[in-house]
């Protein structure tokens, strides 16, 4: 038997709604007890004692939108390197997007991801699979076989399924299997050659804009189809108040829908692009401060369920270019927690709700273990000094790609230790 006791801790467990002084006992890779009365029976014999000095122990983060370059672009990120970045950021489980070369739309590729993760990753890596073969938006991939092989979600990755009939059939077929379809929506015609949020700032920069409607129009279509089919639909990354309102309405009407938002859209706005900074070229584009504030409200009200890093490694070949020629995307595994804590430190969001959106909610939505400190759950947890100040430095980034939106940013909240199934995978 191996045992670890985190004592003198602030135990935060959104799955039970607790935020209290206490301890967490880990025995043989699982949570034995967590909370104020965890030590009522005393510490197990021979346990490793960790004095948390009042710092927080919480469920490890569950990041449901992570892009990785393996297979096909291993110079940007491998499953191993992403997992080390995740561990350093307090992320104990991640769902890997199928946007690889080749696209993960086949059982063998799902098995490749699982095997590579098992052999090289230090955190839990769950594969997702394409909704349509090769992201072509036409033929459905083998939902049933993919799911049996271990794909936990179906998603078209960065792409949008243009054909409403394909989406309807995908939702209908997925319903029978109980799989969620996660979709980023952007109307390709309305977005056209746009590279940032449409508006005054884009106009001055001379960059083509993407209107908010480009996101919300296809999203509204999807939500109606979710209502029609009864399928489970997850709006993977929304950025506009209109989208949040549409989600809230669909939820009220009883549709099986949920929504996510990237940490970037919760903490940054289009002004961060400044003088054509390509690391801030994202999809959906960063919107205005008003939009950002509306997103924080939507998170508070429950219209939005989960926060993702949307970790998307890009190297100099794809980022050291004029803005409109650069690829969209930013890394985020190592900064998602600290950036999210800005919302807590600013008083925008209660800590428990914030941690719920980062751990408990995504685990529940996608049926993953973790996201909780309940007895019997795997000991996927993170010890965090919520107040520790630090500065993001490129030299410290563990990802193979360095395209962070937070270079030089002041953060408050630092991961001290990350544990996956009782094994320490990171310690500061």
């Amino acid at each position: 038997m191996s045992a670890t006791v985190f004592q003198n801790a602030r135990v935060i467990d959104p799955s039970r709604g607790i935020d209290e002084r206490g301890a967490v006992i880990v025995i043989d890779g699982a949570i034995a007890a967590a909370g104020a009365d965890a030590l009522n029976q005393g510490a197990p014999d021979n346990a490793t004692i960790v004095d948390c000095q009042g710092h927080a122990v919480m469920p490890g983060l569950v990041d449901s939108r992570v892009f990785i370059g393996e297979p096909g672009a291993e110079h940007r990120e491998t499953i191993a390197s992403a997992s080390r970045a995740a561990a350093a950021g307090g992320v104990t489980s991640l769902i890997m997007m199928p946007d690889t070369k080749p696209v993960i739309d086949d059982v063998a590729l799902v098995e490749f991801v699982k095997r590579t993760a098992r052999e090289t990753a230090v955190v839990n890596v769950f594969p997702s699979a394409a909704v349509t073969r090769g992201f072509a938006g036409k033929e459905l991939s083998e939902f049933g076989l993919l799911s049996e092989a271990g794909a936990v979600m179906l998603t078209e990755g960065r792409a949008t399924i243009a054909n409403a009939l394909v989406m309807r059939r995908a939702l209908t077929y997925a319903r029978d299997l109980g799989i969620t379809i996660a979709h980023e929506t952007q109307d390709p015609h309305l977005a056209s050659s746009g590279v940032m949020n449409e508006g005054l700032f884009a106009s001055w920069l001379g960059l083509p804009g993407i209107p908010r409607e480009a996101e919300t129009i296809p999203l509204t279509r999807d939500l109606m189809l979710a209502g029609l089919t009864g399928g489970r639909y997850h709006a993977a990354k929304i950025s506009t108040a209109m989208s949040a309102a549409a989600i809230a309405r669909a939820k009220d009407e009883g549709a099986q829908v949920s929504a996510g938002i990237s940490i970037n859209h919760l903490t940054l706005n289009e002004n961060d692009i400044g003088d054509y900074r390509t690391f801030f070229r994202l999809s959906p584009p960063l919107r205005t401060e008003d939009d950002r504030l509306a997103m924080v409200e939507a998170l508070k009200s429950g219209a939005i369920d989960v926060i993702v890093s949307s970790h998307d490694p890009q190297d100099v070949d794809t980022k050291r270019l004029p803005f409109a020629e650069a690829e969209a995307g930013a890394i985020g595994l190592e900064t998602v927690l600290a950036a999210a804590l800005r919302l807590y430190h600013n008083g925008d969001l209660p800590l428990l709700r914030l941690i719920e959106c980062l751990s408990t909610a995504p685990a529940r939505l996608f049926g993953l273990p973790g996201g909780t400190l309940k007895t019997g759950a795997p000991a996927d947890l993170v010890l965090v000094d919520i107040d520790a100040p630090w500065i993001v430095r490129e030299a410290d980034i563990r990802s193979l790609s360095k395209n962070t939106c937070f270079e030089g940013a002041r953060m408050q909240g630092r991961v001290l230790q990350t544990m996956v199934a009782g094994r320490t995978v990171f310690s500061a």
């Binding site: 508006g199 005054l200 920069l205 001379g206 083509p208 003088d275 050291r320 004029p322 803005f323 409109a324």
Partner: protein
């Protein structure tokens, strides 16, 4: 023209009009006035930039702007090299920055860049150690065009402040319009834009202009009418239905020009699409400043390069 007769220009690059003070602009225009005189002499070559190296890096073909910069450099005595990047290394996949770093190693004093991507000049300026002049970056800025327009107006009208200037046409895709809007506002002109709404950028009413969608209203009482070029590919039914409809509603002809002041003057950055945005009778008529604009172009570019490469900058130890 001698450097020392003008105050030291405070910037190292010219990436846009945005960021320049009215004083900076006036100083460049004063320098350009002096340069006009040089171009009108029989002996047009000076030694102002003797020994300096100017590289023209044009990713978009532009006979007019490139030759204007080339001539300006030569009249200042600089060694001028034209890089035809559109046809060489870029086809081999070299990025803008790699080309820039390569050129920078050849130690030029000034790089003139034209690129289809907004922000390209600013990106270049971050990576090279010489001065950079933006000769047009996507739909962002074309600062020397705005300066030459201002010089043309100032010489024709004696002032810029208080004038009503109507900028007409494809404002959406126009770097010329953006630079002019900033500059004319800085110098106190009243700026209007006139175009179908499909050719106006989002937020135009917050850009310091009065937008109009009818020529008769937009030109009413105007001192200057500035026409913009409409790219042919934008006329094929997506932004405007047809050339003939566009010319009917927005092409500048004598009839539409009647709405403006009697002493109105007409400008166009060129190259013109005759019969699309402007009728030949106007382009070639007595109210046209189009030839003067071309002449002022050389003078403004001489003034800009002279100001950026002011030897006093190095003498004071401040390369930045």
């Amino acid at each position: 023209m001698t450097n020392t007769s003008f105050p030291l220009y405070p910037h190292r690059h010219l990436l846009g009009i945005k960021g320049l003070s009215p004083l900076d602009i006036e100083m460049l225009l004063d320098r350009a006035d002096a340069a006009v005189a040089i171009s009108r002499q029989q002996e047009k070559k000076t030694a102002t930039l003797r020994g300096r190296t100017q590289i023209n890096l044009f990713y978009e073909a532009s006979t007019r702007t490139q030759s204007s910069f080339e001539l300006a450099g030569k009249r200042l005595g600089a060694d001028v090299m034209n890089m035809s990047v559109a046809s060489s290394s870029t086809k081999k996949g070299e990025t803008l920055l790699d080309t820039a770093i390569t050129l920078n190693a050849m130690r030029p004093d000034i790089l003139i860049i034209r690129h289809a991507a907004a922000g390209a000049a600013a990106l270049l300026a971050q990576k090279v150690s010489c001065s950079v002049v933006n000769a047009g970056d996507g739909a962002h800025e074309h600062p020397t065009q705005a300066l030459l327009d201002a010089l043309t107006i100032r010489r024709a009208k004696g002032r810029i402040g208080g004038l009503t200037v109507a900028i007409c046409g494809d404002v959406l895709h126009s770097r010329v319009a953006r630079s002019n809007i900033v500059l004319l506002n800085a110098l106190g002109a009243r700026v209007r834009v006139v175009a179908p709404s499909t050719l106006l950028p989002s937020g135009i009413d917050q850009m310091g202009v009065e937008p109009f969608t009818r020529m008769d209203e937009g030109l009413k009482g105007a001192d200057i009418v500035m026409m913009l070029r409409l790219q042919r590919e934008r006329m094929a039914g997506s932004l405007v239905p047809s050339v003939r409809e566009y010319f009917r509603h927005f092409g500048l002809d004598a009839e539409k020009l009647k709405a403006a002041k009697d002493d109105v003057l007409v400008m166009h950055p060129g190259p013109m699409n005759r019969g699309v945005e402007i009728a030949s009778e106007i382009a070639d008529g007595p109210q046209s400043l189009i030839q003067e604009q071309v002449e002022m172009g050389v003078a403004v570019r001489m003034a800009v390069m002279d100001a950026l490469l002011d030897p006093r900058r190095n003498a004071e130890g401040g390369a930045a």
